[in-house]
């Protein structure tokens, strides 16, 4: 067996260029698989993180009507002040951070005269900073304080409206009682967070400001919760129990998974799509290996005939070719793993900037336009093993075909 292994590995040196080209094809497939998987994993996890950190929290408490219709941010199905206070106490009792928020649609305009639609959230800056991470992403000016009369806008809004820090923006909206209201608000801070939904659509003012001007009277459309360890379920169960015990039966809870079900469905579909892509990469790799092995086998028919004549069993001939293919897969997989690790290091530290391609495009992920990578040692190992296994599997058929030829024909084969 040892000599068969030696022969198989020496056979790889017969046509060095061919071996290198095939190995590069395998390496390319493996590296691409590792890199793509790492990037998709990052995009998936980053989307989940960004959804929780900037958009939703772990779960919200809101009225049932609001939960059904959240995308419209209705002001007529909100939680009234006494219930808000009770829910805040529940949050305290369950060890969660909570932030009452009131979202409403507004038309924002600046000097140029045209307006752009945004969702404005009225927040308690202090509480909100414990649930969301907008505060950590201020790039100009300051985060809101409790008595601030200004507005916190996104870098995207700044660019779209051509407005800057210290300038005034006109907010046109409706009060709780459906009367039109226009406010002139000073831009006191600009944030740039990694969640494009928040960046492109959301602005923030204080609850005090909203209560004074929009007749919100201490109400909140939702109360966002953040659990300390990031796990929803135990806290959610406690909150549900306490809501029931406090007879807050008109209120309900919605988790980030329920809210993001559309996104999660898209994410699953994308995973399926990437599997197809991975499969196609391996088809290309497999064709390369089959081609190389078939060429190797058919140029060595006479040699095989000689070895079989001298008493080498057909199974040993097949083994020799399979080990050779495994060697080819091993070289390709080692190269691919190395390349994949290098690409991942680059992806983790620098990332790929798709800003020019994805500028204003909504591609489903709640990430910025710079795509990073995440380490996935499991996939790296799987890709490495799969590279070798794939090489072995596709070499079995041509090897078996080769020993079907009669020895006398093999020896005469030209």
């Amino acid at each position: 067996m040892k000599n068969i292994v030696i022969l198989a590995f020496k056979n790889l040196t017969r046509h060095k260029k061919r071996t290198i080209i095939t190995s590069i094809a395998i390496a390319f497939g493996i590296a691409l698989l590792i890199w793509m998987d790492g990037m998709l994993k990052w995009a998936d996890n980053e989307s989940k993180r960004n959804l929780k950190n900037y958009e939703f929290g772990n779960f919200i408490v809101c009225t049932k009507e609001y939960a059904d219709d959240r995308k419209d941010f209705p002001l007529d199905s909100v939680i009234e002040k006494p219930e808000v206070e009770k829910v805040l106490i529940i949050a305290e009792n369950t060890g969660c951070f909570s932030s009452p928020r009131t979202g409403f649609r507004s038309m924002m305009s600046y000097k140029r005269g045209f307006g752009l639609p945004y969702v404005v959230f009225a927040i308690d800056p202090e509480l909100d900073a414990k649930v969301f991470k907008i505060k950590d992403n201020i790039i100009q000016g300051n985060y809101l304080d409790k008595n601030s009369e200004g507005i916190l806008i996104s870098a995207y809004c700044k660019k779209e409206l051509g407005i800057d820090i210290g300038e005034y923006i006109i907010m046109e909206t409706r009060t709780k009682y459906n009367t039109m209201q226009a406010l002139r608000l000073k831009v006191t801070g600009i944030f740039d967070c990694p969640n494009p939904i928040v960046n492109k659509n959301q602005l923030f003012i204080t609850r005090t400001m909203a209560e004074n001007n929009l007749q919100l009277e201490g109400m909140a459309s939702e109360i966002a919760f953040r659990t300390e360890n990031g796990d929803n379920q135990p806290a959610l169960n406690k909150v549900k129990t306490l809501l029931a015990s406090k007879k807050l039966t008109l209120l309900t809870t919605q988790t980030w998974q329920e809210y993001g079900s559309d996104y999660l469905a898209i994410s699953q579909t994308k995973k399926g799509g990437s599997k197809i892509m991975i499969f196609l990469i391996f088809v290309i790799v497999a064709v390369g290996i089959i081609n190389t092995m078939t060429m190797s086998i058919f140029e060595r028919v006479r040699e095989m005939g000689m070895l079989r004549a001298l008493g080498m069993r057909d199974n040993d001939v097949i083994k020799c070719f399979i080990i050779e293919a495994a060697g080819l897969g091993l070289i390709g997989s080692v190269m691919g793993l190395f390349l994949g690790v290098c690409l991942t290091i680059y992806g983790v530290n620098v990332g790929l900037d798709f800003t020019s391609s994805f500028k204003d495009m909504d591609f489903g992920y709640r990430t910025g336009t710079i795509f990073y990578n995440e380490w996935n040692p499991g996939m790296m190992l799987a890709a490495f093993i799969f590279g070798i296994l794939c090489s072995v599997l596709v070499s079995i058929l041509p090897s078996k075909k080769a020993v079907k030829m009669e020895i006398t024909d093999s020896i005469r084969y030209l």
Binding site: G311, T408, I411
Partner: protein
């Protein structure tokens, strides 16, 4: 007991719709230590007979025994093992493995024999290479050897398993006359020393001169067999 025993052996090939009879009712045997040549014009059936004796092909009719073993009853694996233990081949075109050195070419074939320790294989391989005059050249690849040297490696490869029988299909056809003669002298010497049975197919008069027994074939039939007695 003869090493090779052919009894009324016939071999037919199908070529398209027609059947070609390559050997017709051949009966002959070879004893241990014979140095025989099968001669005849192209198409006379020399290679077919060697292939049958070498267990590379099966008879259509009749019986063939190698070392007393009836060949047509053996399956592929048993035939491979039988060839491994009993038969060595020397080919016209040497058929060495180009990525292996002279030593490795010989050692690889010997390692096909089961239950032989690695160091014993290496020792035997070196010894046989020395015997065929390739001492000092054992690490050279076939491409670094002359035609004669390559054929010596092929002979060493055939002999290293110490088979009862060596079959050589036109072993000098690809060599110049001087080298061809050297090779024949070497094989004759080994035949004398080791009492290994050699059977050649050849057109070469010089090879025939070395052979002690000459079997003439024509149209698949034996036309003459001197039985080892040269005139």
């Amino acid at each position: 007991m003869p090493i090779v025993e052919c009894n009324n052996v016939s071999k037919e090939y199908k070529v398209g719709a027609s059947v070609v009879s390559a050997l017709k009712d051949i009966s002959l045997s070879f004893e241990k230590g014979e140095f025989s040549a099968i001669v005849g014009p192209s198409g006379s059936g020399k290679s077919t007979l060697l292939n049958l004796i070498g267990c590379l092909d099966k008879v259509t009719e009749g019986n063939l025994k190698i070392n007393g073993i009836l060949i047509k009853e053996q399956n592929k694996t048993l035939l491979a093992d039988l060839r491994c233990e009993n038969i060595g081949f020397v080919f016209q075109t040497f058929n060495l493995i180009p990525v292996l050195s002279a030593f490795e070419n010989v050692n690889f074939v010997l390692s096909l024999k089961k239950n032989l320790p690695e160091n014993e294989c290496a020792e035997k391989s070196m010894k046989i290479l020395e015997e065929v005059g390739l001492k000092g050249l054992e690490n050279r690849k076939p491409s670094e050897l002359s035609g004669g040297q390559q054929q010596r490696v092929a002979i060493a490869r055939a002999l290293v398993k110490e088979p009862a029988l060596i079959l050589a299909d036109e072993p000098t056809a690809n060599l110049d006359s001087k080298t061809g003669e050297d090779i024949m002298a070497l094989m004759k010497d080994l035949n004398m020393k080791k009492q290994t049975t050699f059977i050649f197919s050849t057109h070469d008069k010089m090879v025939m001169d070395y052979a002690t027994r000459i079997i003439n074939l024509r149209d698949g039939m034996i036309t003459s067999d001197n039985g080892g007695k040269k005139s």
